[in-house]
Symmetry: C2
Subunit: 162 residues, 2 copies
């Protein structure tokens, strides 16, 4: 899992120290690597938090979308629409949740191509327990409100294309 905690508490974890690459070509290369590395770092921490509850990160995210819809059902298409990673395979993630009886699948009566997916009581309870355990840590709380805004603006700019 590899969460490196420093023994001597220093204020900052510079990317140069995290990776074995002491020098970068320029600030851009460093920013690119830093961005990918930091996102992975956040996701690893989240995954570790869900693990005691037998959930993976995508499974947790799908469950939360379903709670947002509850008591109305969601279709696979709606889940894909709401997911951060559009290319992941919602069908199979729902398979896992159904096996654990955290969701149900029923053919949609109005459109028999579609499948109504609903979170169960067990699913709702699991989400409650996870959130009560004050889990889902996210390092962005290290930032001030203004810094968080700044970060959002910079990230939006990174995704600007032509």
């Amino acid at each position: 899992m590899y969460i490196h905690l420093q023994s001597i508490p220093l204020p900052l974890m510079r990317i140069e120290d995290e990776i074995k690459q002491p020098v970068f070509r320029n600030e851009y290369q460093k920013a690119h690597i830093n961005l990918v590395y930091t996102a992975g770092w956040l996701q690893l921490r989240q995954a570790a938090a869900f693990k005691p509850f037998g959930l993976t990160l995508p499974q947790f995210n799908i469950l939360r979308i379903l709670r947002g819809q509850h008591p109305r059902p969601a279709t696979v298409a709606l889940l894909i629409d709401r997911m951060l990673d559009k290319t992941s395979n919602a069908s199979r993630i729902v398979d896992r949740l159904e096996e654990k009886q955290l969701v149900t699948r029923t053919v949609c009566p109005a459109n028999r191509r579609a499948v109504d997916i609903r979170i169960t009581k067990a699913g709702l309870d699991l989400l409650d327990r996870i959130e009560q355990a004050n889990i889902t840590p996210s390092g962005v709380e290290q930032l001030s409100e203004a810094e968080a805004q700044q970060l959002n603006a910079l990230l939006d700019k990174v995704r600007t294309v032509e």
Copy 2:
């Protein structure tokens, strides 16, 4: 692959527009989602660039590390050390590269537990061709030098723990 290009050219791609979530709880939730989403966005674009050359992103990254070592060999341990994602399985990524004859594996004579991995001429040529095609796009070039520095500082702060 899902690279959303706007038909009417607006300067910025706000995260609210990218995801179907028009409102966030606060700037922190937005920053967290934005960070993960933007990193995924960068990696998808890179993966799409390597695909015509039959390489995945991890395979490309390993090849680049091997070129950096060339003509000296690398061991699996060295690859893991240099990789961004320490938990990925370098052995199996090298398997794929070896099948494509882009690298060679020989038992290290000095330490017969270790395996010397070397990039081949074909591997070097492939990297050249990929780079000549001016690929490896990275959205961070949208930023100014100062903004890139700012982004690096913010990301480092996000990873600060205790």
